[in-house]
Amino acid sequence: MSSSLVLGLLGSIALVAVLVELMRRRHLREKYAVTWFLVAAGVLLLTVAPGLLTLAADLVGVEVPANLLFFAASMVLLILTLQHSFELGRLEERSRTLAEELALLRLDLETLRQERDPES
């Protein structure tokens, strides 16, 4: 067994194991897990059949197959980061709305309380 085969196998299996465990503990939502499962599947596929990478490199005309791999990997990371920025923005907007609503509720509660017993 070549070292790259062992490394690829171990890496993808470890990734899948971590994903399953995180989902089991409800730390990871499906919508994020799907992308990572696809990554793990891709790594596994390329590990068992390295010829696929050479084939793909020939098809798109990349001379060094490893470069295609790097390119694909950076694209995946780019898309994931973009997705996270998008989700972060949505979360910020939601927490902003919650903060505003909370402040308004607190004021209303305070006003009601003072109307009920003006002493306090």
């Binding site: 903060a99 505003e100 609503e101 308004l104 607190r106 004021l107 006003t111």
Partner: protein, 263 residues
């Protein structure tokens, strides 16, 4: 648009003061508003709401002591967040007019007597510098250029002369207030430039009234050429985005804010 030229007697006015660490200038700002309300705004029923934007100092306490209602945000959201909170309060509690006024004492509450009567003919009234009132307000060349670009673009959009669209001194009627309660942007310059664009695009009429700004009571605004250039860039980006964003939907009465109480 409507026939009425001035609001009905005893129109309910909410003065919203966004405040972030303004314990020094806030008490006099609140007192000035109350003095102005007692002196020349007899036709209006004026309440003051200070939105404490996650201050670390005694802003909330001094505001309450000065007699204002205080709404404390759990963390700092920026002027946009504080203002949307204020507009939501105004809509839910059935105010007819909402005023936005800075906590640092720049905005003289006595001008409200000139701003408020225009609310009948315009949906949004801006208290503007550079409009010939008082001493000229000095800004650096680049910053001035940015403000001019913004003013020209928005003037064309609003079909009226606007000289100071970054002014945080503005008066909104129910229509504009309701719009802002839903769509007040949180980003930089969103509280002034983008909110004006939102109002214009939703079909609100905008007018300006010249006001004299007082010098800030707390610290001085820092202006280096680099900051001015950055300001220009951010202003252009903010304006560009505001123009290409999806058209804000104008809420038809009744307002569909979550938890909206009967007005």
């Amino acid at each position: 648009m409507q026939e009425q030229s001035r609001p009905a007697p005893a129109a309910r006015v909410l003065v919203i003061v966004p405040a972030w660490n303004e314990e020094e200038s806030l008490p006099s700002t609140v007192r000035d508003i109350e003095a102005a309300a007692a002196a020349d705004l007899a036709a209006y029923d004026v309440d003051v709401l200070v939105v404490d934007d996650g201050s670390g100092d005694a802003t909330a306490r001094v505001a309450a002591a000065a007699g204002a209602r205080v709404c404390s945000l759990p963390f700092n959201l920026g002027v946009g967040g504080a203002m949307r909170t204020g507009y939501r309060y105004a809509v839910r509690h059935g105010y007819d007019v909402a005023v936005q006024l800075d906590a640092d004492g720049q905005h003289d509450a006595r001008y409200l007597a000139r701003l408020l009567p225009l609310v009948g003919e315009a949906d949004l009234v801006i208290g503007a510098r550079f409009a010939g009132e008082g001493e000229r307000y000095r800004v650096s060349l680049l910053r001035g250029a940015a403000m001019k670009v913004l003013a020209r673009t928005l003037s064309r959009m609003a079909r009226t002369r606007l000289t100071d669209v970054t002014s945080g001194y503005r008066v909104a009627n129910r229509r504009a207030m309701t719009l802002f309660a839903l769509h007040y942007p949180a980003e930089y310059l969103g509280d002034t430039v983008e909110s004006t664009v939102i109002a214009i695009r939703a079909g609100c009429t905008v007018r300006q009234v010249p006001v004299e700004m007082r010098t800030r009571q707390g610290g001085t605004p820092s202006q280096t050429p680099f900051k001015a250039a950055l300001y220009l860039l951010r202003a252009v980006v903010a304006l560009g985005l505001a123009l290409v964003r999806r058209r804000p939907v104008e809420p038809m009465a009744p307002v569909e804010l979550p938890g909206s109480a009967a007005a």
